[in-house]
Symmetry: C2
Subunit: 269 residues, 2 copies
């Protein structure tokens, strides 16, 4: 595999672009092939079996594009499918949960962490498992927030309705006296301001995207796959539905021009 | 085709059960094969091409079960795919839009109708087209309400957040002095109480499900396909994900026992 090959990144929709942004900032020499499964978003309420099927299709699609490594920029797929699909493939694959759990464990002072995410991510208990491996004394409290992805996809990023839902979803966590809150869904960094208003200034908000990009850099170096040449802006974006809508949204998140997005019939992969 | 054969009914998820309920009430002799595309819900924000692909797969699945007629119990699929897919198949197919438009046209006194629905349904302009065919003097105002399906699927049927979203979505329609409001998505009858609270008692709420069941009865009689024997409760329910969750919900809507629901890999059809 050539170090000039692109990196594959995927998510259920637009949320994974928050991870792409970090990769572009931290390892700007890499080119990215992004896939957003906008036809089948949201992933959060679907079964593990379905998420594994979807992940397999997307990995086949990305491998067909010649990627050298894959970032599962979706907490639900990282929680429910990464382990299974990683074992079936040779190329390096990383998710967002392990890096996020690592930062959270290093951030908390009082040993009490909250995690918000989709039903799939929270019910898997995966953040707790990873944090406990780092420090078994830390307590981890999870809360599923099924409406936050639809609210983000609707663009209600800073809205009274979104604030009210965030207030309801975080209440039990705040009652547990957490000092650290993991944004355990790649859509949630887009709600950072609203979440900050609701939880106040005393709580540390952890965005796994930053640490994921760092982990990716390490993995590339360890596998001698780092592209250390000039800045490469040959990024490509694919979605399973609504390429134009996706393009408009991507422009508001990413630091680069999104030149083209293409529709892909992902069910054929 | 035997008149003893079942009727196929499908929707993107649970909303179509509001149509099933009406069919069970009005033509209790018929048995029903229901398919809810819970893996790919919601349909409302997806492209016409995608909705046609999904509708074709589901029609193939239902035909494989030997159905004698198909009810597209989803406004989005009725609006974007029914015409195309109906032309490709011989068996009788009906949607919910035409019956809904008929009732609305017959209900309004002041000739001003509002329609709420998904993005796909509203942007298609199909309710307006059908109403104008009946009476070209009637004005039809549409409003897309993308968050209502996720709110219903979350079970927030009577909740301040849902009321606030309904208030925002219906404001422009009420400003247009409508006297009739079409619940142009099969999920919305589940929000009837909340919608009633928001729009007040002066507005007639039209639920296309009732008229759809009446149309189905007519179609069966015209095609000599009516099952006029004893009450048949041999209904079957299939979904593309989360059969158990669907079953719990179905029990709260339907007048009969939901004995079994099965998962189907719909992408293979």
């Amino acid at each position: 595999m050539s170090s000039k090959a692109p990196i594959g990144v995927f998510d259920s929709g637009i949320g994974g672009l928050t991870v792409v942004k970090e990769i572009m900032n931290q390892i700007p020499g890499e080119s990215i092939i992004y896939f957003g499964d906008t036809a089948r978003v949201p992933y959060g309420s679907k079964s593990q079996e379905t998420i594994i099927t979807y992940t397999r299709q997307i990995v086949r699609f990305l491998k067909g594009k010649g990627v050298k490594a894959i970032v599962v920029a979706c907490n639900t797929a990282s929680a429910l499918a990464l382990e299974t699909v990683k074992a079936e493939n040779e190329l390096p694959m990383i998710g967002v949960v392990k890096p996020g759990a690592k930062v959270a464990a290093n951030t908390t002072s009082n040993g009490r962490i909250g995690v918000i995410g989709t039903e799939g991510t929270i019910h898997s208990g995966i953040y707790k498992d990873y944090v406990k491996k780092i420090d078994s004394r830390i307590e981890v409290y999870g809360k599923a927030c099924p409406l936050l992805v639809p609210l983000v996809e609707e663009g209600l990023l800073d809205d009274p309705v979104t604030r009210e839902m965030v207030r309801r979803y975080t209440k039990d966590l705040l009652d547990q006296n957490i000092d650290t809150l993991v944004l355990g869904c790649t859509h949630y960094p887009l709600l950072r301001k609203t979440i900050r208003k609701v939880v106040g200034d005393e709580i540390e908000l952890v965005n796994p995207a930053y640490e994921t990009a760092r982990s990716l850099k390490e993995v590339l170096i360890n596998n001698k796959l780092e592209n250390d040449e000039l800045i490469n802006e040959n990024h490509k974006f694919y979605v399973s539905d609504g390429a134009e809508k996706f393009k408009r949204f991507a422009k508001t998140i990413l630091p680069c021009e999104v030149i083209e997005t293409k529709d892909v019939n992902i069910e054929n992969y």
